[in-house]
Structures are given as C-alpha cells and as structure tokens.
Amino acid sequence: MSVLVDRNTRVVVQGLTGSAGTAHGNGMLEYGTNVVAGVVPGKGGTAWESAQGVKVPVFHSCFDAVRETGANASIVFVPGAFAADSVMEAAAAGLKLVVCITEGISILDECRLRPFLKETGTRMIGPNCPGLITPEECKLGIMPGYIHKKGDIGLVSRSGTLTYEAVWQLTNLGLGQSTCVGIGGDPVQGTDFVDVLKYFHEDSGTRAVAMIGEIGGTMEEEAASWIRANLKKPVVAFIGGQTAPPGKRMGHAGAIIQGGKGTAAEKYAALREAGVTCVVGPADIGRAMKAVLDGKGR
C-alpha cells in the first residue's frame, strides 16, 4: 500500500521537451513510471523519444493530454515565471495531483495558486521540491530511484538531498518505504506536513513515519499538535538548521528564523511534547527508526 501515487498513476510531464523535463522524463520512465504524455504549448502533435526509445505523445495543453491519454497526475518542469500558470492549467484540466518541481516561483504567485487549487480540489506537492515516490511502483519526481526500497515507512520532508540521505539510511538498515513525499522548501506550499501525515494515518501500508523538518515557519509545530491528537503510528523526526543564524535564508526560501521565531529548538520542543522521537544527529535518523520499530526507542 502507499499514498498519492502507485502503479495506476498515469503521468503527464509539463515541459517534457526542455532539458530538465527530458532528463527526468527519462529518469521516471527508467524507474517504471507510467509516463503517458508531455505538454509543451506549441509542440502539440509531436512525439518525444526517451533515451530507451520510448515514444511519448506531446500535446499543446493538459486538456488535450487528459482527454487523449487518461492522465491523472502531472509533474511540472517549467521555469519560474510560467510555472504557476502551468500548475493552474493542470488543475483546470482535472488533474487531481500536480507535482511542481520548479524553484523560483514568486511568493505572490504561490499565494495565487492556493485558492485556485482549492476550487478545483487539486493536491499540489511543492513548489521547489523533489517530488514523491512509491518504491517499485511510481516515481513522480527527480530523486535517485535506486536508494529506495519497498516497505512500510512513510517519509515526509521539506528537503531534497537530506531526504535522500534519510531514505538511504533507512534502506541500508532494511527499512523500506511505503511512500516518500518531498513537500518542498518554499514559504507557501501546496501540501504541508499535516496533509501528508493524514494520508499516512489512513494508509494501512504505512507502519511508522519519518519526518524531516527544518527552520522557518510553524509547519512542524502544527504537525506536532495534529500528531498528538490523532496519530497512533510512531513518528521519528529530524529538524535541520539547529546551527543556522537568525535572519538568514539558508538556501531554501522558507528556511529562515524571523523575529526569533521558527527555530529548531522550538520545533523539537513541540514534537517531543507530542510524543515524537526526536533525532538531533542527521546521521542517526535510520537507527532511531529501527530502535523505535524494535521497541527499544521511545
């Protein structure tokens, strides 16, 4: 079992013929993802050929792609100035899951997306995220596929490479994953920790959750309250940026301590209070999960 994506997910890649779209279109197909269409305005009616010689039809719009191929999820590799519009097109065309990989969308464009996606009932993952993966079924993202292993740990994270690090630790200890979701590092996101925790809560294939947060905002605190009230499955959490100076943006647009708020210490305190197993060493995430599952952890 898994959440959000599985082997029935039919993917349209927006911006498939660009360099990022092509590279990751290849990566997804290699992993076995069912990539059924590309959308590039102006290139409708052509076909894109993968590195392995798989031909994927390209359409002018998501509307055409959905009608012709029955696509049910989209992934967006479109530059920042146009990405929000692409996400809205996917939503308007009826796609219920849209992953926006693009980094660099303006904050107000991200604000404009929220009410639009609410109206269409679309779940957006990102922007500025690595995407999500259900191991051995569907990779809807840019992560290296081989580090994952099928299993029953749900993973949710605001980071990219730190997510890979955590996944790799789990896999090396024999702990497979149900689904790994990278929600992204921007200040305004389509999906937050609580959204994903709800999916994991309902998924019978997820036994425990690993959560990778970072400084900035209050998403971890909100997750802590929700976990405390609802989640019976064990959660292991790490927060990045324990040594970050206040007032500085640490790479991610959303990773900033403002007005003394959004520190790792506050987040850890809230999570501990909610009964979450907190890991302060980034190299210990896998081991902590194993200890919890073996009944040795908290």
Partner: protein, 404 residues
C-alpha cells in the same frame, strides 16, 4: 532585498501615502543644502542603513571604539547643524541593536522635515505562510518593535488577511481604522491609504512592508514617519521589478555571499572553523549541525545545488580557502541529479588549482559514487574519504585539530 528608508518613502509617495518632505545626502555639504532647500525650522538627519534601531544606535569611527555621535538619527535646527551632524554620521559605523557589534558603515543620510506628532501607531504587512497570503497588521503601540508588542500583548495586534486577487476590502480597512481609534476624516484617509498600500504590496511583489511609526499629526493628518520595505527576491530574479532592482545597495550585502551568488552558489557567512561544501540546502544545514555536534563550528552554509560544475566547485573552494578561520573543509555530497564522478573530478582540479592548504574530508554518496571515490583515491592528493556524514564530520574536526 531590502530598501533604504528614503527609497521606501519614494515608493510610498508614488502610491499616494503621505510622507514628510526630505532629501538624501551623501556629503555634509549636500546635507546642508538639503536643509536649506527644505526651508523648515526643524529637520531630522537620519542614517540610511538596512537595519532598525537607528535612533538609539551609536556612530563610531572605523575602530568601533571612538564615538562620533551618540545617535543614528539627530534633530537639527539650522544649516550649520545639519552640516556638522551629517559630517559626524557619514562615513562612520553605526551600531544598533539590529546590526550586531560590527555595525554598518553609513554612506547616506536622509534629511527630512520635522513634523508635530500627536499619536504614534504601527502598520505592517507580512506573509502569513500558513494562510498563504500577506496579512496586514496594526497596533496602537507605534514606535515599538512588533515582535516586542506580540510577546507582551498579542491582543494589541489586529490582523486582516489580504486577498491578492482582489485587494484589501473596504470593511477590512474600516476595521483596522476603528482599531487604531480613527474617526471622521482621518478614518476615510486611512481606509484609502490601506487600500493603496495593499495595491503596492501586490503590484511591487513586496515581502515586507512596515510603517513604524505611522503618525497622526497635530493637525489630524496621517504620515509615514519611518518605513521599511522588503522586495521578494524571487520576483527580482524573474526581472519583474527592474526599477526596484535599481535601488539595490550592494554595500548592504555581504560581499562574499554576493560573489558566491554570482557563481550560482548559495552561501551564508558564519563564524567557525570547518568550511562546508554540500549539495542541497537541507543537507547543507544538516551538515552544519553535525559539524557542531562533532565538536567543530561551521564556518559557512554552502549549497552548490543539483547541477554543480567544475567551475562552481573551484569558485566554492576559493571562497572557503580565503577564510583564514577555516581549519578543515568538509565536502558532503549526496548525488541525486549530481554525478559524483563529475564532482570528484571538479574537486581534484579545484584542490590543485586553488592549492588548498587545509585538510579536505570528502563524503560521496549516490549517483556514480564508486567512480567518484576512485578518482579521489588515485588523485595523489591528500583527501580524506569518509563513508557517511557522521564519520565525515568527526574526521574533519580531528583533521582541524579541534578534537575534544
């Protein structure tokens, strides 16, 4: 990116928000001329730096000990005073609560006509990340930092969310006006001003707007006495606000961070002894954390991103090696998109070119990591390999001679 007060007021004036007449000056003579041109009995000479607390700050010589003047904002009553106060402030280093002990060099002053203040209020607009929209905030406690008000009495702050597609609705403006105690003509003036500010936030991609204090003059008029504006860096990168981009003051930015950015590197200067080179922001933060846990101090945050080239790695090494505080360099790479063999090649060439003198510890994982390790191993360079990030941090701290 932040604007100076005088730039913020220029923008406010364009949106019809009342501000006092003022002129910017870069020399004492210009300040004297500005006072003369204003033709008022009283003016303020205000230091222009990107930090608050200027009024209570102190201006020092470059040695940071010899005091020039005990305030960053001073009232002047004649041309001579304007000239002499500006001479003390300009070129001095202003240290305030927000600048840190190193202070900021003052290169410009704003000479602004004085006004008769009846009441000081607060108005701000910041992003509410959870709601996914900007939110207007007002408080009757003007002149105080909003964080301080929030900590002391959160109920003293009233908020109204901004619908970016529509703007601030009249009822929202009225609600804020009543909270601030306005009635009659001032109420009408405020509602109009709030709507105009909302339009400015949306049209100009502002990430921060603060009018503190917003004053009511003795004649019952509203006036933005101090203003702070931040512009969304993303919008600037997308070249949406070129006239605001032209207001950028590079002196207010960390030169090393700026240089790093020109190479596509995300860098933040810190005070430490282990230089860090990492791909990905989350992993870069976690690497800093583990360095600290191993007994070292991270000297920087550095994210080379997913598409690091040899040129970027070389530029990164140059920046790290210039910092004399760096006693060892830790490279932590988890190749997803990034290929470890290409990166290893870049490291080898960079270490040769830059003639790195401090120990370099490298942890490579992910895409083509075995090839990458081979390249490092056969390079003949003194590069210490590590199998995971825990070991890498430990080795870096040891190599730097910092072992506890």
């Amino acid at each position: 990116m932040n604007l100076h007060e005088y730039q913020a007021k220029e923008l406010l004036a364009k949106y019809g928000v009342p501000v006092c007449p003022g002129r910017v000056a870069e020399t004492p003579e210009q300040a004297a001329e500005a006072f003369r041109a204003l033709g008022v009995p009283l003016a303020a000479v205000k230091s222009q730096i990107h930090a608050g607390g200027r009024g209570k700050g102190k201006v020092y010589e470059k040695d940071l000990t010899t005091l020039r003047i005990d305030r960053g904002v001073a009232l002047v009553r004649n041309v001579e005073e304007a000239r002499s106060v500006a001479a003390k402030i300009l070129g001095g280093v202003l240290v305030t609560k927000q600048t840190g002990p190193q202070g900021r060099t003052v290169r410009k002053v704003y000479v602004e006509a004085g006004c008769e203040v009846d009441r000081e209020l607060y108005l701000g607009c910041v992003l509410d990340r959870k709601a996914g929209k900007p939110v207007f905030m007002v408080s009757r406690q003007g002149g105080m930092e909003i964080e301080e008000v929030a900590a002391r009495d959160p109920n003293a702050i009233v908020k109204e969310p901004l619908d970016v597609g529509y703007g601030l609705r009249p009822f929202q403006g009225r609600r804020l006006a009543y909270v601030l105690g306005f009635g009659g003509e001032t109420l009408g003036q405020f509602v109009k001003m709030a709507a105009s500010l909302a339009r400015m936030v949306v049209e100009r991609d502002l990430s921060l707007l603060e009018i503190n204090p917003l004053v009511v003059t003795k004649t019952g008029n509203l006036l933005a006495l101090d203003a702070k504006i931040g512009v969304d860096d993303r919008a600037l990168e997308l070249q949406k606000q070129s006239d605001l981009e032209a207001m950028r003051d590079v002196h207010e930015e960390d030169p090393v961070e700026r240089e790093a950015a020109s190479h596509g590197l995300n860098y933040v200067t810190m005070d430490g002894n282990i230089g860090c080179l990492v791909n990905g922001a989350g992993l870069a933060m976690a690497t800093m954390d583990i360095v600290k846990q191993a007994g070292g101090q991270p000297a920087n945050f550095l994210d080379v991103g997913g598409g690091a080239t040899k040129e970027m790695v070389t530029a990164a090494f140059k920046i790290l090696c210039r910092n004399s505080g760096v006693k060892a360099i830790l490279i932590n790479i988890f190749g997803g998109i990034l290929r470890c063999d290409l990166l290893a090649q870049g490291i080898v060439e960079a270490v040769r070119e830059v003639q790195v003198k401090v120990p370099v510890v490298v942890r490579l994982e992910g895409n083509q990591n075995e090839k990458g390790r081979e390249i490092l191993g056969s390079s003949g360079l003194k590069i210490l390999p590590a199998k995971d990030m825990g070991e890498a941090a430990k080795k870096a701290v040891e190599a730097a001679g910092l072992t506890r």
